[in-house]
């Protein structure tokens, strides 16, 4: 990976608590490069206007940029049409839309919704709510001991009563990369649809929704060097077409009568209200940035970082790493605990050394229960991290261990 990449991220060039910042919390949100910040600034300084209305020039420019971003996203995930790309607030909103629209229309009493133990809360609770409302059964696919998913367990969980299978592509805790393509095939054999939570995948892997043959795919801009507040729901056209909107108001309507209204065509019927225009513009700039480097290159870099981090962190006595031991099976996420030191305390000591990691349950309480821990610390790597960041982390962890063995 080109060492100059870091210089494109102005935020990384600062000291935190007297030390150069090492940012290892990209799985929570990524930092933003200069071209993305510049695209937002330019949009607000020159083009800002509402879209799809009015005849003035700014309105046209804003509309072109917004719809141009949609084309960019379509190519980025290889969807067959821009009609399959819905701009929403983020992955959470996208999954909720599918649960409330597709789910309510298609899931009946006694039907099954299948998810896994490694889901983020945003891919659990929308299904819990749907299952409760419809009298459906929410089923969890068991994990293997190393935190991976076996197709055998997938086959055991999915039946002819299954209507929806929803699974994370890359786990935000274990870093596991799941065989979503194979799972989609099994789901389809039983007549179920397959939803993929791609929040941790889109920033790091080349996504091809046609190759995966998933029915829905959701991801967020802010985890892939784009702005917060913009996300994408991809859905197969025939499914989206049959679905009712869940948000009603301006922008999404065709004709409004006193007692009845009709909706715009895809994808706008799902984009009620003034859309997230600047967010989409920023997301397009983020995609350009990532593609210039190359998603394959980014994925390779992350495997390398994960392998190196696991190797060096693993050498610290009393440090336990969760998830697959084989770095080839995981993305650049390393979740761990230091024996006898609570992850909050680890994170505070690291913060005092200028190193940002996440500590807590990572919005995955069922997974924490499965791991039999109440909380963990997590270091997540992205394209701007390099080997020196791992060295700083390891040094910080050793100091944390030493510090707490002294005070104990």
């Amino acid at each position: 990976m080109n060492p100059e990449i870091k210089s494109h991220f102005p935020i990384l060039n600062q000291e935190v608590n007297g030390h150069p910042l090492v940012y290892l919390d990209s799985a929570a949100t990524s930092q933003k490069p200069t071209p993305v910040i510049a695209a937002l600034k330019e949009y607000y300084e020159f083009d800002n206007s509402n879209v799809h209305r009015g005849v003035h020039t700014l309105g046209n420019r804003a509309t072109e940029k917004y719809e141009g971003a949609r084309e960019k996203v379509q190519q980025f995930i290889n969807a067959s049409s821009t009609q399959e790309i819905v701009f929403l607030r983020g992955t959470t909103t996208a999954i909720n839309l599918v649960a409330q629209s597709y789910g309510r229309a298609n899931v009946e009493e006694g039907d099954e919704i299948v998810i896994t133990y490694m889901e983020h809360h945003s891919n659990i609770i929308p299904w819990q709510q749907l299952a409760k409302e419809r009298g459906a059964v929410l089923k969890y696919i068991e994990l293997e001991e190393d935190g991976t998913i076996s197709l055998e367990n997938v086959r055991a969980a999915i039946t002819d009563r299954t209507k929806i299978v929803s699974m994370v592509y890359v786990s935000n805790v274990l870093g596991t990369m799941n065989p979503v393509k194979e799972v989609a095939k099994i789901a389809h054999e039983h007549g179920a649809v397959m939803m993929v939570d791609g929040a941790q995948a889109a920033p790091h892997l080349k996504i091809d929704v046609q190759d995966l043959d998933c029915d829905f795919f959701a991801f967020s801009g802010h985890k892939m060097v784009g702005p917060t507040g913009i996300g994408v729901l991809y859905g197969k056209k025939h499914l989206l077409e049959a679905m009712e909107p869940v948000e009603f108001g301006g922008e999404m309507i065709d004709f409004v009568g006193l007692y009845d209204s009709t909706w715009k065509e895809l994808p706008w019927k799902f984009e009620g209200g003034t859309p997230i225009i600047a967010g989409a513009v920023g997301l397009a700039a983020a995609i350009d940035f990532l593609q210039e480097i190359g998603l394959d290159e980014i994925e390779k870099h992350e495997h390398h970082m994960a392998a190196l981090a696991m190797d060096k962190m693993g050498a610290i006595e009393g440090l336990e790493i969760y998830g697959p031991k084989d770095p080839a099976k995981r993305a650049g996420i390393v979740t761990f605990n230091l024996k006898e030191v609570h992850p909050h305390d680890v994170a505070t000591v690291l913060d005092m050394s200028g190193i940002a990691v996440r500590a807590g349950h990572h919005c995955a309480q069922p997974l924490m229960k499965w791991l039999d821990v109440t909380a963990t610390a997590r270091a997540s790597f992205y394209l701007y991290n390099d080997e020196s960041d791992i060295d700083r982390l390891v040094e910080g962890l050793r100091s944390a261990k030493e510090y707490f063995s002294d005070v104990f």
Binding site: N17, H344, D345, T348, A359, G360, H361, T374
Partner: protein
């Protein structure tokens, strides 16, 4: 690496409470039983109080969490035990002011609690320290209502 700033947070007395918590466990005869979580980080406290005639006769806690949250729970139970409810709530108010870095009433002897003052310099950790106190306040209010 030296961590002078950390020493303000992890004072000896805090680590002592963390290592050997006072009043750990659950009361067999409780009048108040409160469970409270810190949803963002997974800290959990189960607080049992025995309140009689407006006095906190006994207090115990159980739970899981970081050094700050568990030490604070230990100190809280120690501080409120034997006090009347108004005093316990007053202490909670003083503690809250202390955490927010406000001027606080120092006419009351705070004992070990004073050691937690350094937490106010670590904004991300304030909620760890206040969890047990919030549980106590909630418990006392519920008791008053019943």
């Amino acid at each position: 690496m030296s961590f002078n700033n950390l020493d303000q947070l992890y004072r000896q007395v805090i680590m002592d409470h963390y290592k050997t918590p006072r009043n750990k466990g659950a009361l067999e005869e409780d009048s108040v039983n409160i469970e409270m979580n810190n949803p963002t980080c997974g800290d959990r406290i189960q607080l049992t109080l025995q309140v009689e005639d407006g006095i906190v006769k006994d207090a115990k806690f159980d739970g899981e969490g970081c050094s700050i949250s568990m030490a604070s729970a230990s100190m809280m139970t120690q501080a409120v035990k034997g006090k009347d409810v108004d005093t316990a709530l007053k202490l909670s108010g003083i503690f809250s002011d202390m955490m927010l870095g406000k001027e606080y009433d120092d006419s009351v002897d705070l004992g070990d609690i004073e050691a937690l003052q350094g937490v106010s310099k670590f904004p991300a950790r304030i909620k760890c320290a206040t969890l047990a106190w919030k549980a106590m306040e909630k418990g006392v209010h519920e008791e008053e209502k019943s």
